[in-house]
Symmetry: C3
Subunit: 273 residues, 3 copies
Amino acid sequence: MLGRYLNNVREKSPLVHNITNYVTVNDVANVLLACGGSPIMADDINEVEEITSICGGLNINIGTLNDRTIASMFKAGLKANELKHKVVLDPVGAGASKLRTETAIELLNQINFSVIRGNISEIKTLAFGKGNTKGVDADLSDTITEETLDEAVNFVKEFSKKTGSVIAITGAIDLVADKDRCFVIRNGIAEMSKITGTGCQLSALITAFIVANPDNILKATASAICLMGLAGELAFEKMVEGDGNSTYRNKIIDTIYNATGDILDLGAKYEIK
Amino acid sequence: MLGRYLNNVREKSPLVHNITNYVTVNDVANVLLACGGSPIMADDINEVEEITSICGGLNINIGTLNDRTIASMFKAGLKANELKHKVVLDPVGAGASKLRTETAIELLNQINFSVIRGNISEIKTLAFGKGNTKGVDADLSDTITEETLDEAVNFVKEFSKKTGSVIAITGAIDLVADKDRCFVIRNGIAEMSKITGTGCQLSALITAFIVANPDNILKATASAICLMGLAGELAFEKMVEGDGNSTYRNKIIDTIYNATGDILDLGAKYEIK
Amino acid sequence: MLGRYLNNVREKSPLVHNITNYVTVNDVANVLLACGGSPIMADDINEVEEITSICGGLNINIGTLNDRTIASMFKAGLKANELKHKVVLDPVGAGASKLRTETAIELLNQINFSVIRGNISEIKTLAFGKGNTKGVDADLSDTITEETLDEAVNFVKEFSKKTGSVIAITGAIDLVADKDRCFVIRNGIAEMSKITGTGCQLSALITAFIVANPDNILKATASAICLMGLAGELAFEKMVEGDGNSTYRNKIIDTIYNATGDILDLGAKYEIK
């Protein structure tokens, strides 16, 4: 069922404007190409409105934010809203510094995001105004387990209701919800956290998926999350002795490059709560 | 015949100053090392003159331009001209925003470029002052085909005459010309467009090639273009089931690392018009 | 003997704040994850104090320094000193421009570094106020050979005494010394210089190692250097025909990912002078 959303990405080849961090930007570009999308990176305030205008969606990632690029994020986001383009927020490290927390919250105040994707600590920070993000990783005390799942599902639905955005929390268990329904996704494996940028890549994928599937933001987002997790699983099966996180990074992108709607349909593991 | 230009790069190991985008910069550095050159990246206005002075050539790429780096591009370019160093322009995304178009044209006005390399939409934008670049990709309506080839050859020779630069247009068919002669190159395969940064890498290669072959800019540029395309072909032959664009990226750089003048002589596919 | 320091990194998973260049930043992040550490990159002046406060160590790399990030380096470094965190300096290209030389020397004046790591030309530049760094590579005339080894060992001990920092000079022979003892390390192979960023990666590794081994900075640094060199050796043994510098880069990070204390103990090649 979720496979069709990938097929639509491949068919429509959405152009995605990324204002993103310089750590994982190359992987973000390659994963967008791998899924069938087309990336453009542009962060100067004098061009972000024009660039976002020719794109279908905008992916804002605050991973290495600075004064100059923060201003560009707001300008691009407001323009994208005006044009009714899809906009995704990845609040990398919200909770780890006042600058990140305040920027993310102010972006939320001024811009309508179609989807907000982060780890549990980042999303809690947005919801409660502060958090205990450990660098760019979630704090262990925040981890969603089978025991805390129902509580977390309620939280994510509530936060979606409050913001009007689809909310995606990724971790050992992934949740993606609108105000009524929550996809609980069990794709992906722990080793993915040993690669930098799988979260950044996922936010870019989500942007491409919702641009290509504008009428079904929730399911398109769930589809992108299943694809990323499934790619992590399938790529890991191809690892041989001596391979490590660098090869794993390449194999995950390769797996997305070769993924089809059928593969995704077969491998997606989710329930709806 | 074109193989000797690669041999000269390996022998002379030219130091190349890059003011380039942060998306593909790592691949640019590794491809320069792969061909036998040596990269340095520096974009602060307080050091670009000094850095470019110790290098043999300067590669200016506007892929993620901003106010700060635009000023550095002009300062470095003018200094390189003063020292009679080779300078290459890669007008990434010219036509996609006013900032990119105007910056590229103003760079062209103030700086003498040995070579300008872009896709057809970018080069048309430089020639006609506006264009319809689709993000960082050429617009389909601009594509050079066998039917439009003669017209395109005339255009590129004319634009070379007007600018005094060797002009390289890369795509399914690559053209590189001075005012009198045009190399029509048929190396490379379509899958290369599924990797971010093959164009950026090529502009860096061209810079290394013309620094090492100062008396033959046109042929050295043609040699670099054939090498990149041939590497794309040979690397693709080594792809196995499950490989995708991430592995392909690695294999292309690896192939350049292992390329020799003889391999290039055997594999280069071009005619002169 | 040096293997235990790697084991401690894996056990303690130190969080490392990096203010580093955009060329090799992705490899820096992945190598930190590979050794068991956790990276965060943050360079805005409004957050570097907070970010460095939640980390165990700070890695300052001037590879693509600019006005904005230089100010952040000082602010972060002073804060890290105040908190008695470990701080590492990688003076990339010191000697190649006045900006790099002066910035590195002023950082040295204002901030207490636990470790300073560079190539011989960079370190000489710091010691003598000027140098002849060839871009980001050491000048050939500076190379440490068996003939000049004793002289170099004395130099590095003296410079350590003067600065109060452990000094690491990497090249064909690596030296790492405090004022009394110098590890002379013979791991690593020449092909590593054909990959961009092995030096940057090493400085990040050193930061993680000294955070996890605060009572033994000298040995922890020696351990990180042996690991990087050994990974270069072991990864090279796994190269097959057609592999080049891009694959080699991946295999080195993979090898670090799979390294254990025992492997390091077996493969480390050093003497103490």
